[in-house]
């Protein structure tokens, strides 16, 4: 994601009374300890960052601070007053507005109604005035330059538009305290800039923010204070300015991780071409041709709506392309057939792990081995012992935090779930690994592990496609194809500058102006 420099502004006056104070919060989910004696103090007017690795308990704290869940023990106070009872949702909403990590859009309702859910404009007889409501909705979205018909169902929105509807709604309450749980994970660079602009405006008016993100540069960009959680505990709270980036990462991970710039290994010229995509055209018209050699890592970058995900899905058979061929190691893949792609040696990390990556009720072992039934049994019969062995291997290789292969995936934290998806892709020893936004919502440390794995498999001669708009993901690539509106507009060799790539993704060619 982009880091367009808006620069931290001179923060407004911070007074001493905490807007919210949570102390000694403990929360268990079954056997999982999500929060252990953790706490946070957010002072009026500040923009407070909350960081921590996946599963550190951030979102759990958010749900406690917004009254969605009760803590097992511990207290929450707003302006020194005890928090309202859980049932009194209106009282909670007067205290705090929130953009949750999980979507709270109701897909079957119109965009307008989603924006004014449970606070519809009403007229005589307390009946809803739909016209007024739609007008309000139009105005609200215009402020965010989201150009959609507010009368269409929210299910028709793109991921990014949905995120803006969520943000617009949360910010329109007029609340003085707003929590944003990973609001930028679904936005592209331009979107993030719009959001940060608004945050700056509101904090100038004295609005307090609690901001959660895995993108540390964003923390440095807009936050005053930072609180770090690790393993369900509060680790430290400090002014952002006083905490160096390595120190922050160390606090999050509990170890002194230096983040070495991956040493880039040149590809030797005589390696054979492994993947060849010719004149691929997707159902909605995005086009791509490319060749990748064994051991080569090719990035496909692009903003929202650039078509990068579509072409990737067409390559692996998740979507049927309109035309074009994909050849892997001399074998032409059957269009639109995942089984054929798998058989040919494709490994896939799909875009949305919740939707396509995981079967939450099944165990890690079953999820990891789902694509490789032949490896764990014979003639259709499965050997549980072999399956568990494969799974243990994945757990070890990817450092998945779980007590064993039998843990249901639904019990894992987001980052660990993403690692399971990666494990599933790798289980077949693929010749081609296609990673679509592989590190979305993943913490720094896990990101490192995941990208490290990519480096390992390329060494074994696997070609890798990284489809992403995250600069960190793309940095490991030998070259990056930048897509814009369905076409490849630039190809950049390893060693590109961030600004160039961001500009290309946004359709601006800095070199040709």
């Amino acid at each position: 994601m982009s880091a367009t420099p808006t620069g931290p502004t001179d923060g407004p006056v911070v007074d001493d009374r905490p807007v919210v104070e949570a102390t000694n919060i403990t929360k268990r989910f079954g056997s999982t300890l999500a929060l252990s004696e953790a706490g946070i103090v957010v002072r009026r007017g500040e923009t407070h960052a909350l960081v921590g690795r996946n599963g550190a308990g951030k979102s759990t704290l958010v749900s406690i601070l917004t009254g969605l869940q009760a803590a097992d023990t511990g207290t929450v106070t707003f302006d020194g007053e005890p928090a309202p009872p859980l049932g009194d949702r209106d009282a909670w909403r007067r205290q705090v507005a929130c953009v949750y990590q999980k979507s709270t859009i109701i897909p079957t309702l119109t965009v307008a109604e989603n924006l004014f859910l449970n606070r519809h404009a009403r007229g005589p007889g307390r009946l809803i005035r739909w016209n007024a409501l739609r007008n309000d909705a139009r105005e609200l979205l215009a402020e965010w330059s989201v150009d959609v018909d507010v009368r269409q169902p929210a299910s028709t929105l793109s991921v990014e538009q949905r995120q803006f509807v969520e943000i617009a709604r949360a910010l329109s309450f007029g609340a003085r305290f707003i929590i944003l749980d990973e609001p930028t994970a679904q936005l592209d660079g331009a979107g993030i800039n719009r959001l940060f602009g608004r945050i700056q405006d509101l904090r100038a008016q004295g609005v307090t923010f609690l901001f959660i993100s895995h993108h540390l540069q964003e923390i440095y960009e807009i936050c005053d204070q930072v609180t770090v959680f690790r393993d369900a505990r509060h680790i430290l709270t400090a002014p952002v300015a006083e905490l160096s980036r390595p120190a922050l990462v160390a606090a999050m991970t509990g170890e002194d991780v230096s983040m070495p710039e991956a040493v880039h290994r040149r590809l030797s010229a005589d390696v054979p071409v492994l993947l060849s995509v010719q004149d691929l055209v997707t159902a909605s018209g995005a086009e791509l041709s490319l060749e990748a050699k064994a051991g080569e890592v090719v990035g496909i970058a692009g903003g929202g709506g650039s078509g990068k995900v579509e072409v990737a899905e067409a390559i692996v058979g998740l979507a049927r392309p309109a035309s074009g061929t994909v050849t892997l190691d001399g074998r032409v893949l059957r269009p639109g057939s995942v089984p054929d792609a798998l058989d040919a040696g494709v490994g896939l990390v799909p875009q949305d792990r919740h939707r396509e990556g995981l079967v939450p009720l099944l165990s890690i072992a079953e999820n990891v081995t789902m694509t490789v039934p032949h490896r764990i049994g014979r003639r259709g019969l499965i050997s549980p012992a072999r399956r568990d062995a494969v799974a243990r291997q994945s757990i070890a290789d990817l450092a998945i935090k779980a007590s064993g292969p039998h843990v249901p995936v639904s019990d894992l934290s987001g980052g660990n779930q993403q690692k399971v998806v990666m494990g599933r892709a790798l289980a077949s020893d693929p010749k081609l690994l296609v990673l679509i936004t592989p590190t979305a919502g993943v913490d720094v440390r896990s990101k490192q592990t995941l990208l490290g794995v990519v480096d390992d498999v390329r060494r074994d001669g696997t070609a890798v496609l990284v489809v992403s708009d995250e600069l960190d993901d793309l940095r490991i690539c030998d070259r990056v194809l930048v897509m814009f509106q369905g076409r490849v507009v630039r190809e950049m060799a390893h060693g590109w500058s961030d600004n160039d790539l961001v500009a290309a993704m946004e359709g601006v060619d800095l070199h040709h102006v």
Partner: protein, 347 residues
């Protein structure tokens, strides 16, 4: 969520390559979906008229409306529950049990070979009917909302239990010699049209307003669409669900009262098997079994279509042994057709 190229939010610099359908059209279609069954209803009316001109006589139209009025109210009740994403199979048993309990408490055993308790004066009939409905709904709510049990299986169990309760108190017999207070609504006419028709139209009108134009009604849709989101938006989801279940049971009880009034009796099997028709009508009318989708008006067109077809089949004198087959086929065909015209799966 795949990133489509058609999103309108891409930078204004250049228009997206593949144009999205114009918003007006999308909207018009959404509105039209409510009227999706109107052509089918007109077609059936024409076929009916050809089969037997009596079909469009005012006598027969009133007959169709009256015979559908009670089930229509149950369809309204089921629609409310379905929109919240639950289902209530036990409505068919409540439909019989509520008037059954009222009759049991009120009628005089001397007149009816020992059936009944003569325990309450007859003025209590209507309150008792509604109260039984409310209690059943509350109990369903207890198991579904509080204990978190699956609605399908809970109400399936309740369907059996409530029917068994009615068989138990009546000994399987039919309650008759009902007091005037129980038969009035189901048998009287206002302005030449049976009161039960007025009542069902009134309830549907109310349903349209409440579900379309009040916050409480919209809360039902929100809950059915995404219960966590609804909770986050400040909707007391548990309470709303509970109320929806109670209202639905009360409506079913009221419908049962109308039916008992029309028959001047409460058979132990009153409503037995009706839930199939109720679901079929609601779903044909566009109500989603997954919650959050469908309108009261659509449900009304569904039940109207179904009863018109049954009436045409009766008038056509279809051989008795094939009526059920034809009924079922008609339901299936209606489903497939509404799938094709609606352009989207009826889910």
């Amino acid at each position: 969520m795949s990133e489509t190229l058609s999103t309108t939010a891409s930078p204004p610099a250049s228009p997206p390559p593949s144009p999205a359908p114009p918003p007006q059209r999308t909207l018009a279609i959404a509105r039209l979906r409510d009227l999706a069954l109107v052509p089918a209803i007109i077609a059936v009316a024409i076929v009916g008229f050809i089969v037997n001109p009596v079909f469009l006589s005012s006598d027969n139209i009133i007959n169709v409306l009256q015979s559908m009025s009670e089930i229509a109210i149950v369809v309204l009740a089921q629609t409310i529950v379905l929109i919240t994403g639950k289902m209530d199979l036990s409505l068919e048993s409540t439909f019989g049990l509520a008037p059954g309990i009222a009759a049991w408490l009120i009628i005089d055993p001397a007149l009816t070979r020992g059936l009944g308790l003569d325990f309450l004066p007859s003025a209590w009939a209507v309150p008792v009917v509604l109260l039984v409905g409310a209690l059943v709904g509350a109990f369903n709510g207890l198991l579904i909302v509080r204990f978190g049990l699956n609605g399908f299986i809970v109400t399936l169990g309740m369907l059996i239990v409530l029917r068994g309760l009615l068989t138990g108190i009546s000994g399987g017999q039919t309650f008759f010699a009902l007091p005037e207070s129980m038969t009035y609504l189901g048998s009287t006419s206002w302005f030449g049209v049976p009161a039960s028709i007025w009542l069902s139209l009134l309830l549907f009108g109310g349903g349209i307003v409440v579900l379309g134009f009040t916050r409480a009604g919209r809360a039902l849709y929100a809950i059915g669409g995404n219960v966590d989101a609804a909770r986050a938006a400040g909707i007391r989801t548990d309470r709303v669900l509970w109320i929806a279940l109670i209202v639905a049971s009360v409506l079913a009880a009221l419908a049962g009262l109308l039916m008992s009034g029309r028959l001047a009796a409460v058979p132990a099997a009153q409503g037995s098997g009706a839930i199939f028709q109720v679901f079929a009508a609601a779903v044909i009318g566009g109500v989603s079994l997954n919650g959050g989708k469908g309108t009261v008006f659509g449900a009304f067109t569904g039940v109207l279509l179904l009863f018109m077809i049954i009436n045409v089949l009766t008038l056509a004198g279809v051989p008795a042994q094939w009526t059920n087959f034809l009924n079922g086929t008609v339901i299936l065909v209606a489903l497939v057709v509404s799938r094709i015209t609606g352009g989207k799966a009826q889910t």
